[in-house]
C-alpha cells in the first residue's frame, strides 16, 4: 500500500510558482500576446487623446488626475468613440447584470476592445496548450510553447468555448435571472442587511459555480496533456473526474493564486504609481512599472496552471492511479543461454 504523502494546495501552488519562475518565457509569451492585442488600440487611443488634449489648457491638470468634467464631456460629445462600453463594464457588476442585447450599443474603440477580448479568449486557448505542454517538458523553450500550443489548439479551443458557454450560462442563470426572480421579494424584506446578505449569497454562488467551471476545464486540460496514452474521450472524462476527486486541493490552488493576484493589486493601488503627475513617475518608468506589474501577475497565472498540473499529477487517485505493470524481470541466465545469442542482438547483426 502506497504511503506517498499527498502535497497540499499551498505546496502545489508553491511548486507551480517555482515552475513558473523556472520557465519565465511562458509568462513572457502570455505578456506578449496581451501586449500585442492591447497595442491594437494604442494608436486610436493615442491619436484621439492627443487631438483632444494637447491644445487644451486642461492638459496640464489632466496629467496627474482624471477630470470628471472632461470625461463626461468626452462621452457626451463623442458617443462614437466608446458607445456604451463604460456602462457595460460598470453594469456587469450591478445586481441587474448585463445582457447580450446591450452589446448593440458598443461603438468605436469600445466595440474594438470587446472584439479584442474575444480574440484574447481564442489566443488564450492556444497559450494554455503551450503552457501545459511546456510544463511537462524538462527543457522547454518558446519553441516548445508554440509547438505544444498549436498541437493542442483544436481541443483546447473546444474546451475554452465550452467553458465560456458554461460560464455565461452561469452568469445569466445564477446572477441575472435570480436577481430578476428575487427583485420583488427583496423589496418586501424587512431590512437592507437581509438584501445585502442575499446579494452576497448569490455572489458567492456565482463565484463557486464559475470556479468549478474553471477548475474542471483546467483539470481536463492538464490531464489531456499528462495522459497522451489515453484515448481522447477517456482523457476528457479523466480530467473531469480529476477535478471532482480533488475539489478542495484544486480550490485551494485557485484561492491561493487569487489571493496572490489580489495582493499584487493591493500593492499597486497603495503604491499608485499612476497618480501624482509627472513629478512622481515619468512616462517611461511608469510604462515599465506597469509592464512589470503585468508580468508579475502573469507569472502568478502560469504558477496557477502549474499548480493545478501538480495537484492532479502528483497525487494518486482512483481514476489516475493506474500504473503500468512493472516490466517482467529479465529471464534468469541459464547455462545453455550462455551459448545462445540474444534474440534481439544476434551475433553479427548490423
Amino acid at each position: 500500500m502506497s504511503s506517498a504523502r499527498r502535497p497540499g494546495a499551498l505546496a502545489c501552488f508553491g511548486r507551480g510558482l517555482r515552475l513558473s519562475l523556472s520557465k519565465p518565457y511562458l509568462a513572457v509569451s502570455l505578456w506578449l500576446i496581451q501586449l500585442l492585442l492591447a497595442s491594437v488600440l494604442i494608436l486610436p487611443v493615442s491619436n484621439t487623446l492627443h487631438d483632444l488634449l494637447d491644445d487644451s489648457p486642461a492638459a496640464s491638470r489632466m496629467v496627474a488626475n482624471p477630470d470628471l468634467g472632461w470625461w463626461e464631456t468626452l462621452l457626451r460629445t463623442h458617443p462614437d468613440l466608446l458607445g456604451n462600453f463604460p456602462d457595460l463594464l460598470t453594469g456587469l457588476l450591478t445586481p441587474e447584470g448585463v445582457t447580450a442585447s446591450k452589446l448593440g450599443g458598443l461603438r468605436g474603440m469600445g466595440a474594438a476592445a470587446v472584439s479584442l477580448g474575444l480574440l484574447a479568449i481564442v489566443l488564450h486557448a492556444f497559450a494554455l496548450g503551450g503552457i501545459f505542454g511546456t510544463l511537462r517538458e524538462p527543457h522547454g523553450s518558446l519553441v516548445t510553447f508554440g509547438r505544444e500550443g498549436m498541437r493542442r489548439f483544436p481541443a483546447f479551443l473546444a474546451f475554452t468555448l465550452a467553458a465560456l458557454a458554461a460560464a455565461l450560462s452561469a452568469y445569466r442563470w445564477v446572477w441575472i435571472e435570480s436577481g430578476v426572480a428575487l427583485h420583488d421579494r427583496t423589496l418586501e424584506l424587512q431590512s437592507e442587511r437581509q438584501v445585502l446578505a442575499i446579494t452576497l449569497a448569490r455572489l458567492l454562488l456565482l463565484a463557486l459555480v464559475l470556479s468549478t467551471i474553471k477548475l474542471v476545464a483546467d483539470s481536463v486540460r492538464a490531464i489531456w496533456v499528462a495522459r497522451p496514452d489515453l484515448p481522447p474521450v477517456s482523457r476528457f472524462f479523466a480530467g473531469i473526474a480529476g477535478a471532482l476527486s480533488r475539489p478542495l486541493r484544486l480550490f485551494g490552488v485557485l484561492l491561493s493564486s487569487i489571493l496572490t493576484v489580489l495582493a499584487l493589486y493591493a500593492v499597486w493601488i497603495v503604491a499608485d504609481p499612476s497618480a501624482g503627475g509627472e513629478a512622481r513617475f515619468a512616462l517611461v518608468p511608469l510604462i515599465l512599472t506597469q509592464q512589470v506589474f503585468v508580468f508579475l501577475r502573469l507569472l502568478v497565472k502560469v504558477g496557477y496552471y502549474a499548480g493545478i498540473s501538480e495537484a492532479l499529477t502528483r497525487t494518486p487517485s482512483p481514476e489516475y492511479s493506474y500504473v503500468a505493470a512493472p516490466p517482467p524481470p529479465p529471464p534468469s541466465p541459464s547455462p545453455a543461454g550462455d551459448h545462445e545469442p540474444a534474440l534481439e542482438n544476434p551475433a553479427g547483426a548490423v
Partner: protein, 661 residues
Amino acid sequence: MGSAKARILLLALAGALAASAVPLPAAPLATPVASYEISCRLDAEKKVVEGTELLTWTNTTTHPAATLQFHLYLNAFLNTRSTFRRESGGMARGVSIPDASWGSVEILRMTFADGTDLLPALLYLSPDDHNPDDRTVAEVTLPRPVAPGETARVSLDFRSRLPRVYRRTGWKGDFFMVAQWFPKIGVLQEGGWNCHQFHANSEFFSDFGNYDVSIDVPSRYRGKVGATGKRVEERTGTGDRVLYRFRQESVHDFAWTADPDYVVVKDFFREAGLADVEILLYVQPEHASQASRHFRAVKAALSQMGRVLGPYPYPTLTLVDPPWGASAAGGMEYPTLITCGTQLIAPASVHRPEEVTIHEFGHQFFYGMLASNEFEEPYLDEGFNQYMTARVLRATYGPNHPVVNVFGYRFALGIDENYPVDTNRRYFEVATQDVHAQPSWKFRDFKNYGSDTYSHTALALSTLENLLSVNIMDRALRLYADRWRFRHPTLTDFIACVNEVSGKDWTWFFDRTFYSSGDVDYAVEKASSTPAKPPKGLFERDGKLSEGPPPALARVRGYDSVALVTRRGETALPVEVLLRFEGGKTFRSFWDGEARWKRFRVAGGPRLLEAIVDPDEKLALDADRTNNGKRVVPDPRAAARWTARSVFWMQNFLDSLTVAW
C-alpha cells in the same frame, strides 16, 4: 384683602400660569386662507385612512366663488386610466410602479356650513388634458357664492386607500407615509381656480392655513408617529389604540408617518440671529449610525440657508428615514417634515444622504414658505433649491466623490465632483430639447423634466451669481424671500428682485436662459503666435514711393498673436477672454458674446502661450468646457500618460476575460 381671598387669587394665578405653561399657538406667520381640522383613523391592516375634515376657507379674490375645487391626489393611483398612470407609462421617477399599488380617496359626505349636501353636485374635472377618466380634481357647486373676503366652512368625510408605497406616499409592511391623502382645496386666483390634475411629473400648489390633525393609530405605533407641526397631545384611545394630535400654523400641507421600527433621535439647532429649532429624526434601526450625518447636514442648511433667505420660522423640523423597500417615500418635502434618502452602505466621501437631507430641507423655503406653483413653475422650487443645496454642500463638505457600484456595494472613486457644475451635468445631455421654463407636465419626459427644472436652473442661477457677484445675488434672494414669504411668487417676481437689487435690468438673462431652449457653449477655435515681420511693399519716403519700409517700421520686435473665439451655442452671454503670454503677462478682454465669433489680435507683444474663454468658469451653463481654451504650443504629456494608462487597463481587461474559462 383677606388671606382666604388672597389664597384663592394665588391659586387662580397659579392655575393661569400653569395653563400658560402649555405652549399657546404663536401668532400666525401667514394670513390663513385654507385651514383644516382633521380627525383620522388608520386601519393598518387594510391600509386605509378614514377621516373627517373641517375646511375653513376664505375667498381672497375680488370675485364671488360659486364653486369649490378640490385636489383628490390619491386618485392618481386609482387605475391605469388616470392621467398620472398614462403619462408615467408605468414608471414613477425612473422606478417601475409595483403591482397592488392602487390608491384612492373617496368623499363620503360633504356639507356646506348651512347643512347643504354638496356631494350630489360633485363633478370630476380634467382642466389640463381633458381625460374623462381622471379623478384627481373635483368641483362642487355651492348653494350660494362665497363673497370676496367671506369665509366658508365645508365639512366632509373621506376614506383614503393608500397604495403600496410609490411616488412618495403609501405603505410597506407596517410603515406608512401618509401624504397627499385628504381632499384639499385648490387655489382660487383672480382668473379662477388653479387646480391642476396630478401628473407624472408634477408636484403641488396650495394656500396657507392652520392645521389641527388628530391621528388614531394602533398602539404598536406609540411614540413612532411623526407629522407636520408640533405634537400637542398623546393619549390612549379606545381599544388597542393611541391618539396623537399635531398642530401647525401657516403651512400649506400636512403629512404624517408611522412605523413601529423607527428609532427616534432628537437634537436642537441654536445659532445667534436664527430661530431655535427642535429636530426630530425618525430613523430606521439599520441607519441609526448615520443620525449624526443627517443632523450635521440639516444644521448646516438651517444655518447657511437661514442666513441668506431668513430664519426658518417653525419650532420643529421632522426628518423621516423610510425603510428598505420604501425608498419611493424618500427624498420628499412637506411643511416642517422631510423624508431622507440613504443606504446601508453610504461612504462618507459620497455625500448622498447629506445631499438629500439638505435638498429636502431647502424646500422649506422654496415651496414651503415661498409657495410657488409647482405645477406651472417647477423650477422655482426644485431649481432654486438645487442651487442653494449645492452652495451648502460645497461650503460644508467640499467636492463629492462618485462611486462605482460593485454587486450592490458602493465604492468611492478618487475623482472630484464639484458643486454645482459636476453634480448637474445631466442637463447638458438634454440642453436644447425643451424650453427650460415651462409647466412640469409639458416636458418631453421625466429625464428632461428633472434635467431642466433641477439642473438647468441650478446652473443658470450659478451663472447669474457669477455675473452679478455673490453679494448681489444673496441680497436679491433675501429680498425675494422677505417680500414673498408665505405668498405665491413667480419667476417674474424674482427677476424684479434681481433688477431692484442690482440696479440693472437683467430680464434679458432670464429670457435667454429660462424662456428659451438654447444652450451655452463658447470655444477658442484658434490660437497662434508668430514672430512679427516687418511690412513689405512700397512706402513713401522723402515724398517718393520706394520699396521697403522706413527704418521706424522695419524695426519689429515680438510676436503677432491671434485668438479666434466662437459662440457655438444658441444662447449668448457676456464672457471674458484671457490671453496668456510668455513672461507671465496676461491680457483680459470682455466680449458681449453676441456675435458668432470674435478675433483678438495682439501685435508685437510677447509670445502667446494660450487663449482661454471664460477663464474664471463663470458660465456654469457652458455645455462643453473642454473647448474653452487653446494652447499655442501643444502639451502632449497628458495624452501620453493617459495612453499609457489605457494600454495598461486594456491589458488587465483582456486578462480578466481569460480568467474564468
